[in-house]
């Protein structure tokens, strides 16, 4: 069988740095080919070359039987190559049908838009994607992330895509939506579409992929049939060595209650939530998207102050209406979106790390630069941040290293209570294990950690107890001994059923 797209000996450099070295890659019709590697391994560059965004410096590309030096966006479209990017590229003010057919809308004989055909075909496409509930006339801006993604896939199919590139498609999805996406992908594969699937999540890859290719530092490590690899061997290929334990969790030494939240509410996003967080404990928070997980964190941290309820720290009632108050009470918040609430990207590593604890290194009005550089250097070596040094600009770092900078910033405030919202979203396996190990060490030193995560394995692997939220309410609390995919998953979905029945 001829490959749909075949790359041979591909190389690419940016600003003198080689990001791809002599890489071979191909996609066959009707297969899911997973592309794996740590951040900075060259995955994004590779798929952007296939999508026609970047031109390679060397190597040969074949689309069908045609041989090319580089793919232009036009040739990519002609060759049936479509991409569903991580950051979805849709127009929020246009309807679903308009988005699906943007740029290639069916026309009437008078060369005007054929609205009825456009709506009908959009309907057919969405039905074929198992989404009969999605209205073609609503504005895309009102849709959930999962639904937008289906629109994006429908858009790709409307252009007769033979090769579909999916870059971290499940990064922002809840479990139920992930499963639905899996079904859609399998259906596309049956139709003969070749799918390039980029993801950090190994379970997905084992469920979906037919073959898997691993890149490391821009070089091809290998392409294997999925039956020939195990989770361990894939991780070893990615990081270049064995990672002993996926969730390194030392025995917890749980102490007295540090944070006590009673009947906490914020509008209808957080409703009447009560729980206790103890010294040395990692308390996981699970729930579907929209269950109020992040909102709970924002409320405790004072970004969206509570509308009712009380918060006690070490038995004393406290008022938290600004992040500054929360910080001064020893609470730190590592946000879900590090680009949005975590980092000031034009600033250096040192400046970011000192940002929340500037008062500690300021004499009178002036910042002590020496102390700042020293603390940054300490954080870099303790957290294993891979960087040129404290004066490197944060925007240049990879996702995992950026996340460590955010963590370093908050550890500088010497918090007693650390709230981590999706601590490892979008970062690679190696950095993930490092952050998990760090969380374990911090808890052992007596820090109380509240960890929000949409990755069930992470919640189960790291938590001493798990809070399950739904619709802004606390559904149940499950001990580590009783927490497993079934019990937590059931708590998350049972609530759904109960509410639908009500």
């Amino acid at each position: 069988m001829t490959a749909l797209v075949k790359l041979e000996g591909l190389s690419k450099s940016f600003a003198g740095i080689r990001v791809l070295k002599d890489v071979d890659f191909d996609v066959q019709p009707g297969e899911v080919h997973a592309l794996l590697g740590e951040n900075g391994a060259g995955k994004s560059t590779l798929i952007k070359i296939i999508a026609g965004v970047h031109a390679p410096d060397g190597g040969v590309i074949r689309i069908g039987n045609e041989e090319l030096k580089a793919i232009t966006p036009h040739e990519a479209a002609k060759g049936g190559i479509a991409t569903v990017y991580q950051e979805l590229l849709l127009f929020p003010e246009l309807t679903v049908a308009e988005n699906v057919f943007l740029g290639h809308a069916p026309k009437t004989r008078l060369r005007t838009l054929d609205w009825s055909q456009m709506r009908r075909r959009a309907r057919q496409l969405l039905d074929s994607l198992d989404s009969p509930d999605l209205d073609v006339d609503v504005k895309v801006g009102t849709l959930s992330v999962a639904n937008r993604q289906r629109v994006e896939i429908a858009k790709a199919l409307s252009q007769d895509a033979k090769v579909l590139i999916m870059d971290e498609p499940t990064a922002a999805l809840a479990d139920a939506d992930v499963r639905r996406l899996m079904t859609v992908i399998k259906r596309l594969r049956e139709r003969g579409v070749g799918i390039i699937y980029v993801s950090h999540k190994l379970p997905e890859i084992f469920e979906l992929a037919d073959r898997v290719t691993v890149l490391r530092d821009g070089a091809l490590i290998g392409t294997r049939a999925i039956g020939d690899v195990t989770e361990q061997s894939l991780v070893a290929m990615m990081v270049g060595r064995e990672i002993g334990q996926l969730f390194p969790k030392p025995e917890p030494q749980v102490g007295e209650t540090l944070l006590k939240v009673s009947n906490l509410s914020f509008g209808d996003r957080v409703r009447d939530i009560s729980f206790e967080l103890k010294r040395g404990e990692i308390l996981g928070v699970a729930g579907l998207v929209g269950s109020g997980r992040t909102e709970l964190a924002l409320t405790i941290f004072g970004i969206t102050p509570a509308t009712s309820g009380t918060i006690e720290i070490e038995g004393r009632a406290v008022t938290i209406s600004t992040p500054k108050q929360a910080r001064n009470l020893g609470i730190a918040y590592v946000p879900e979106d590090r680009g949005l609430q975590g980092l000031v990207k034009p600033m250096t590593i040192g400046q970011n790390i000192s940002m929340a604890a500037l008062h500690r290194i300021t004499n009178g009005i002036f910042i002590n630069f020496k102390a700042e550089a020293q603390r940054a250097a300490d954080a870099i070596s303790q957290l294993g941040i891979r960087a040129r040094g404290p004066e490197q600009v944060v925007g240049q770092l990879s996702g995992g290293n950026q996340q460590k900078v955010v963590l370093g910033k908050w550890l500088e405030t010497e918090p007693r209570i650390l709230i981590m919202d999706e601590p490892t979203r979008g970062i690679d396996v190696g950095a993930k294990a490092e952050i998990h190990a760090l969380m374990g060490r911090l808890a052992q030193k007596g820090m109380a950690i509240l960890m929000i995560s949409s990755e069930l394995p992470e919640v189960l692997g790291m938590s001493d107890r798990v809070l399950v939220l739904h619709g802004g309410r606390l559904v149940t609390t499950i001990d580590r001994a009783h927490a497993n995919p079934e019990s937590v998953g059931a708590a998350m979905t049972r609530a759904t059923l109960a509410q639908e029945a009500a």
Partner: protein, 332 residues
């Protein structure tokens, strides 16, 4: 990867390389000024005369001073298009006080406080009213400009007392405005770089949400930076108003744009979060050097604006190219 096998820092880059990466734009402008002097003085040696040099720098010193405040505003992620009109109003207030028999020191100091008060209003509307600064200052621009013409009826202020002419004073044969420009630039540069306050402005301009989460009181800082900018506009006003024996009820056309341009060419990113006040001062000097050079080599000074416009486009283009390169480096 644990800390042990993380690669060690690459050896610290040389001092020169770090200086260039931190102050690239400032160095480029300083070089441009030097090259311009070298070229024009070979064509016309009188260009380097002490008197000419003083005129070049002194006449535009008030623009450099106003650009200090403007740079702070832009670094914080805002903009102020009303500062030209504000300087016009403050000049009239100062002149009126001077001819009405108030003490001279009072006429000098009043614009600083009035400027602060006016911009406190702007700052409150921006910070707490959550109105974009461009909208608030556009409104303020109309109010100030309209108000000024209505109140003065376009009349000039004459008969200013001679001792009011601060800008005519000299120390070591260098005009007072030049001293003030240097003093304020150095103070502001130190303040912006070394104080927690200055750092917080860069943080807010770079990412307001992250700054808020880090405990920086964004609203209060916004009001404060607008008030400081108003005070600095007041200082600039004194340098501007005390140059001549009269005060017109108008300011040079597009004064606010000239001031914003000095900031942007000086390396302050219009998107906020980066740049220095040294850059904006150098850019203001560059403008007046270009203007004077054109006269000395017999090019119509009307080309000045076109040349400055060209400089803006080049600067922004270079800034965007740099940003894009950094994004690519980060994303690969």
């Amino acid at each position: 990867m644990t800390a042990e096998d993380a690669p060690p820092f690459r050896a610290r880059r040389s001092g020169l390389a770090r200086l260039f990466s931190a102050y690239g734009q400032e160095i480029v402008i300083a070089c441009a000024i030097l090259v311009l002097f070298a070229v024009v003085s070979t064509i016309n040696p009188r260009f380097l005369g002490a008197n000419n040099l003083n005129t070049i720098v002194s006449g535009n010193a008030y623009i450099a001073v106003a650009a200090i405040g403007m740079s702070m505003i832009i670094i914080t992620g805002h903009i102020d298009v009303s500062v030209g009109a504000l300087i016009g109003v403050l000049a009239t207030i100062s002149g009126t006080l001077a001819v009405s028999g108030y003490p001279i020191w009072f006429a000098w100091i009043a614009p600083v406080f009035v400027g602060m008060a006016v911009n406190a209003v702007v700052g409150v509307l921006v910070a707490y009213g959550r109105i974009p600064s461009i909208v608030v200052t556009l409104g303020m621009l109309s109010i100030l400009r309209g108000g000024l013409v209505s109140v003065t009826g376009g009349a000039w202020i004459n008969n200013l007392p001679p001792e009011y002419q601060l800008a005519q004073q000299r120390l070591f044969d260098i005009p007072a405005p030049v001293w003030f420009m240097i003093l304020f630039t150095v103070l502001a540069a130190l303040w912006m770089r070394h104080s927690a306050f200055g750092r917080s402005l860069y943080a807010i301009g770079g990412n307001a949400e992250a700054a808020r989460a880090a405990g920086i009181p964004i609203e209060r800082r916004t009001v404060q930076v607008f008030m400081i900018h108003g005070a600095i506009a007041g200082l600039a006003t004194v340098l501007f108003a005390t140059q001549l024996k009269i005060i017109q009820s108008t300011v040079p056309p597009n004064l606010e744009l000239t001031i914003i341009t000095a900031s942007v060419i000086g390396g302050v990113s219009i998107l906020g979060g980066t740049g220095t006040v040294i850059g904006s001062t150098l850019a203001a000097i560059l403008f007046s050097t270009i203007g004077a050079a054109m006269i000395f080599i017999n090019v119509s000074p009307y080309w000045l604006r076109a040349v400055i416009g060209l400089l803006i486009l080049i600067t922004v283009l270079v800034d965007m190219a740099r940003r894009n390169r950094e994004m690519r480096m980060a994303r690969r």
